[in-house]
């Protein structure tokens, strides 16, 4: 049973691992180039475990930025994780495992379980998936930092692994629904956030996108109603009970 969960998780994470590892390598190299000891790359990736924040932190800690500003950056960059609680299958993980499952709820862990894909996964499979994702990331960062400390050669362009990963995840998520308005709303939200609030681009884009989806939902659910006059509307209760 254990082995089967692990094998399944290894297959689940193969593609993500192939982008997390090289990305970790480039993070490790960056840490060493910023003048930090190699093992800080291991500490950052193992303890904080939030990729995009860690990349930003390299520049911030190298110049000894005040902790208050680091806290504000962490809050803004990772605010998007608030939305992942809507669909991440935390209930399938036993209570003791939930501490780690929430700690390791990264973009990649969210993507791998999104769209109902993980509906029939066991708690162990979900946890193994998260452990493996973190292992690729910490392993890559440590290897990169050690290599960067030994060999003074920089490999340009490795950071594109993250872009490629999100492009692939976008296409995969789109294939599940083949719905055009949602990606258009997302691109529009991103463009608006980039123009209006470039300083906190990510959380603003995600908030705008969520708001636009809520408007879309409201419009869609008003359409079939107008023919029949409705009694005063009650709070919507969904009693289908089919969702789990």
């Amino acid at each position: 049973m254990r082995t089967r969960d692990f094998t399944a998780a290894a297959a689940d994470t193969a593609s993500v691992g192939l982008s997390l590892f090289p990305l970790g390598v480039s993070f490790g190299v960056l840490m060493v180039h910023a003048g930090l000891d190699w093992w800080w790359a291991t500490v950052f990736t193992a303890v904080i475990y939030a990729g995009s924040l860690e990349f930003l932190l390299v520049g911030l800690v190298a110049t000894v930025t005040p902790l208050g500003q680091i806290a504000a950056t962490a809050l803004l960059v990772n605010l998007r994780h608030v939305f992942y609680a809507l669909s991440f299958p935390l209930r399938q993980v036993r209570p003791a495992g939930r501490v780690y499952a929430t700690f390791a709820l990264t973009d990649e862990a969210y993507a791998l379980t999104a769209g109902g894909r993980a509906r029939d996964w066991s708690g162990a499979r979900i946890l193994w998936m998260q452990v493996l994702c973190q292992a690729y990331w910490v392993g890559g960062a440590t290897a990169g930092a050690l290599a960067g400390a030994l060999v003074p050669v920089t490999l340009h362009g490795l950071e594109f692994a993250l872009t490629a990963l999100f492009v692939v995840l976008t296409i995969d998520a789109w294939r599940d629904l083949r719905d055009l308005p949602t990606p258009l709303l997302a691109a529009g939200s991103f463009a608006a956030a980039a123009l209006l609030m470039p300083g906190s681009l990510l959380p603003v884009a995600m908030a705008l996108f969520t708001a636009s989806l809520l408007i879309r939902y409201a419009l869609r659910h008003r359409r079939p109603a107008p023919a029949v006059p409705q009694p005063a509307s009650e709070p919507v209760v969904c009693g289908s009970g089919l969702e789990r």
Binding site: A14, S15, V16, L18, L36, F44, I48, A50, L53, L57, V61, A62, V64, L67, I70, A71, L75, N78, L79, V82, Y84, L86, S87, T102, F103, D107, Y110, A111, A114, G116, H156, G157, L158, F160, A161, T163, A164, F166, V167, V168, L169, A173, W174, D176, P183, L185, A186, A187, F190, A194, L201, L202, A205, M206, F209, T210, L213, R216, Y217, C238
Partner: protein, 110 residues
């Protein structure tokens, strides 16, 4: 030069905030999971969120000079093309990243 104490404090602050943002919403949003709005959001959000994250990784790209955009544009086309054709994320991510490393190394040199 940052001291070990400062670095440890920076790590602690970042970890506490990140974990809080990941764990606390479950307590708040848990009861909302069964509503139909929540299910609509959970269904529709992945595509958009992944697209926003992909665009975000490209935020430092500047159109001037246009030659600086070539490695990214080519690698982006390769990632989309490879993935539409092969449906294999491993091939798409590795292929596009390798192409980007090659192009950024030689494009800058040339």
């Amino acid at each position: 030069m940052p001291t070990p104490l400062y670095l440890a404090a920076a790590v602690a602050v970042s970890t506490a905030i990140t974990w809080g943002l990941r764990a606390l919403p479950f307590a708040v949003l848990g009861p909302l999971r069964r509503s139909s709005v929540t299910r609509f959001l959970a269904l529709q959000m992945p595509t958009g969120i992944m697209l926003i994250l992909a665009l975000y990784t490209l935020r430092d790209l500047r159109p001037t000079p246009w030659t600086a955009m070539v490695p990214t544009a080519v690698a982006l086309a390769a990632a989309v093309g490879l993935h539409l054709k092969t449906r294999n994320a491993v091939i798409s991510v590795l292929g596009a990243t390798a192409l980007h490393v090659l192009l950024s190394t030689f494009w800058h040199a040339g």
